[in-house]
Symmetry: C2
Subunit: 160 residues, 2 copies
């Protein structure tokens, strides 16, 4: 990894901390749903929050694999059937959090700023990483509405 | 602004482009609401999307002022009454987009990575900027649920 003495806007370590803060909040959001609603309740026919959270597992796994292998094909995003069960979801979640801590701080800056042909268009691995994080924030915001519709208080957004 | 030849994860210019992509998507979300629903409709007693969008105007104005002045006090977040009217909201939105283009690419990297006491806790201006962007994504995701509840198709998330 190239080191520089000059000030930088964001380091891979800071990006890792930023994402992990979001991931802890998303984990609390998963936990906030009643057992019988996580994979069934939604508003207006949208996907239940458990399904959205499994999508986050899929996109995060795809991203980590691509950052490691530099393979960006769609097949990395293929959907396997997922257990409709909170414990399995949380276990997959925690495994990925450990992978992020192990893999993201050490990414090469030159690699992260080189454009690739990825399923979301031609962009850098840095952009793809933000896309993955932003997609998580987007769907978690939807989960907040589901919780409100269930009469439940979502976790505090500012707490990471 | 300090320049470096070494590769970096994110430049102020790239951060500006990233945010402006989100802002264009949020603007399309504002436009997607029917006139008579933007400031009135919501799910489960949450704030209407027009109100959430004005909050984004407030937090973005606060951030840009703080990046310029290095003043981070709460008073910068004080709420003035806002017109319940889409045209006024979009006009404020566009003014801020122009300010972001004019002001964000030139921020000093040393300043952006120095911790400050800001209303969301002790953090760097870079973190405060991401907090502002993430809050926009979060609330926009809620707006997507409102649109679905109104039987309307939200704008495509991947289009920026």
């Amino acid at each position: 990894m190239t080191q520089t003495e000059a000030p930088v806007l964001l380091t891979p370590e800071a990006l890792t901390r930023h994402w992990q803060g979001h991931r802890r909040l998303t984990r609390r959001t998963i936990e906030a749903f009643p057992d019988d609603q996580l994979f069934s309740f939604s508003v207006s026919g949208m996907r239940p929050f458990g399904t959205l959270a499994w999508e986050m597992v899929t996109t995060t796994t795809y991203l980590l694999n691509a950052l490691k292998s530099d393979s960006w094909g769609w097949e990395g995003l293929s959907r396997e059937p997922r257990p409709q069960e909170r414990a399995a979801l949380l276990s997959a979640w925690d495994d990925l959090s450990a992978r992020i801590d192990a893999e993201l701080p050490g990414v090469s800056l030159a690699f992260m700023s080189t454009e690739k042909d990825i399923p979301f268009g031609r962009q850098t691995p840095t952009s793809a990483t933000f896309y993955t994080i932003d997609n998580e924030i987007h769907h978690r915001g939807q989960g907040y509405v589901y919780l409100r519709a269930l009469g439940l208080e979502p976790p505090a957004f500012y707490e990471r």
